[in-house]
Amino acid sequence: MSLALRIVIDVCIFVGAFFALAGTIGVIRMPDTYCRMQASTCIATMGVIGVAIGTLLYAICVEKNAAMAVKIGVVMAFVLFTNPISGHALCKGAYRRGLRPKRPMVIDDFKEDDPYDE
């Protein structure tokens, strides 16, 4: 394995780990539920993308294992496809359950005309 390749792989994984760390700190520091969810999106996107690209390069260039590379790609795709769905469901569920942030929101259109309020 050449040194340059090694550095590129390490940088990718490091970037992924860094954004995952940032997301975790964000989950702890953010003031309310919705903002915490915003920060957690960081983990699921950039964290996963970074680590997956790093391992993908490793699989292609070092292991030379195409099936492994495809599986990593599919793992990445599934995390990226399913993350927004849970995001919508959690956010809407929290709101409809009556959860409101302590500090009032700047603008709240959802309250004004809740489309699901019968």
Binding site: F18, F19, A22, G23, I25, G26, R29, M30, P31, D32, Y34, C35, M37, Q38, A39, T41, C42, T45, M46, I49, A66, A67, V70, K71, V74, L80, F81, N83, P84, I85, G87, H88, C91, K92, Y95, P101, M105, V106, I107, D108, D109, F110, K111, D113, P115, Y116
Partner: protein, 183 residues
């Protein structure tokens, strides 16, 4: 009546064929071998899966993504447009997290969007949720003043810069909506 049932039948067969072909391609990618045994097993499984799920998945044109232009636009959208948006938004949120006062300014805003197919709408909502800083909470349809249908997205925005709905829509959707319209 006759023609209609016939076209319906043709549509169903096209849906099955399209779904099966996608499944078979995925199978080949997974196994990554050209052993005839593997290929035959894959073909059988793909056809069975296509028969069961084809009519649920395919609503309009079954061979839409077999047109290389559509396919490459989709790939370009994923790997260039969406990726760059995700990187930018991630950097923004990461910076906020490490600042002392995070400068969060949260709010739920309703932005208008163009009437699209359901798949297009789902694509847009998912893309907005994937970029950190914005989460789509719900979609809603309503009748506009002139009777035309309007589609709204309710978006939770981490840092509300403007409360004007049109401008906010431009800022959030930006390039994403344009590219999704092109697919």
């Amino acid at each position: 009546m006759e023609g209609r049932t016939k076209s319906l039948k043709g549509h169903r067969i096209a849906a099955i064929v399209g779904t099966s072909a996608m499944c078979f391609a995925a199978w080949i990618l997974f196994t990554w071998s050209t052993d005839p045994k593997e290929l035959i097993t894959g073909a059988v499984v793909a056809i069975v899966v296509g028969c069961f799920t084809g009519r649920m998945l395919v609503k309009d044109n079954a061979f839409y993504f077999f047109n290389p232009i559509h396919f490459f636009v989709l790939i370009y959208y994923w790997f260039v447009v969406l990726f760059s948006e995700i990187v930018k938004a991630n950097w923004d949120v990461a910076k906020r997290v490490f600042k002392r006062d995070m400068g969060v300014n949260p709010g739920v805003i309703r932005v208008p969007t163009k009437r699209n197919t359901y798949y297009g709408l789902a694509f847009l909502a998912n893309a907005i949720t994937l970029t950190p800083g914005t989460i789509t909470m719900a979609t809603a349809e309503s009748c506009g003043e002139n009777g035309e249908e309007e589609v709204w997205l309710y978006i939770h925005w981490l840092d509300v810069k403007t409360t004007d709905r049109e401008a906010a829509g431009e800022m959030i959707k930006g390039r994403l909506e344009k590219w999704i319209g092109r697919i």
